[in-house]
Symmetry: C2
Subunit: 154 residues, 2 copies
DNA sequence: GCGCATTAGTTGAAATTGCAACTAATTTAG
DNA sequence: CTAAATTAGTTGCAATTTCAACTAATGCGC
């Protein structure tokens, strides 16, 4: 289009917060995902499932989906993979035969124990550009933004 | 697995920054994406291309890919869609016949002019839970994290 | 108890994505 | 100038993701 009727309305993508948030998150996720894939042949979804299981042994697929915010069908297929590799154990709940109770297997816990320190190391490296106060600020801001965004409706 | 050898190594996913960043960004992206899709039948990729074109008329597909950090094949296909809907114009560059020069069409600019204020409104709503100082802090922290993450290597 | 609504989890199929191969144009090295 | 290397953009195809439909089990109202 011709230039004469421009600049009336303009969005500066590089300064737009939702965009920058997405770019940053993407960069970080890609870095981490690549490392887990290279070192452990685990996708981010698979790793997150294991991370939840490390904290909450015996949760159901649905609870994992809630906690990780990952689609339940993705969780279901990822669980299939993890079972195939014997990284997790699953048994159907006695009280509710629809539910399954999932935990890390012995092997799974070994892998988990290897990944956890690595994860903390990555987090530390990422946050190395901020001092302690700034790290706390960031953490606080993210929590508040999330709580707020959670009941936003566009 | 049995409980006696746990708690030695543990990751608290809810407190893990890369994870929280990803969850927050996802939530925001999903909200925004749904709105653009409902109101304008545009995907986030399509909208981002238009946003770049609003700022930089005449850029090439490759430059869009660089600026948005979106795969060039995705950009190529999205450009195809936008052309089909006459939201953008494309002509091959005189100086380099491999390059194409892309701009918003008249219609595209009309749509763009509608989306831009909406985008700012969304950003404003998202940031409504922070005061001005906190908003600036967040902006600064994100910039620094991104610059830092950009040359991290796990 | 019986029937309807809800919930956990799985699966098929369509849509989207990512990667690598490819074409065509341009640049660079010798 | 020519040949090899690089670059812009497109495309095919496999992998991943999404969405809805489906099964099986449970809860709820009456």
């Amino acid at each position: 289009m011709s230039d004469n009727n421009k600049q009336t309305v303009l969005l500066t993508l590089e300064r737009y917060l939702p965009y920058r948030l997405s770019i940053l998150s993407n960069k970080v996720s890609t870095l981490v995902a690549q490392s887990y894939k290279d070192k452990f042949a685990l996708s981010i979804t698979e790793w997150r499932i294991m991370a939840v299981l490390g904290e909450y042994p015996g949760v159901s697929a649905d609870e994992i989906s809630l906690k990780t915010q990952i689609e339940k069908s993705l969780i279901s297929r990822a669980i299939g993979q993890l079972l195939k590799r014997n990284l997790i154990d699953r048994q159907t709940s006695k009280e509710d035969k629809r539910r399954s109770e999932i935990s890390l297997s012995e092997t799974g816990y070994l892998v988990y124990s290897e990944i956890v320190p690595l994860s903390y190391e990555y987090e530390k490296q990422l946050l190395a550009c901020l001092n302690e106060e700034e790290q706390n600020q960031l953490s606080d801001l993210i929590d508040r933004l999330y709580a707020h965004a959670d009941h936003l409706k566009f």
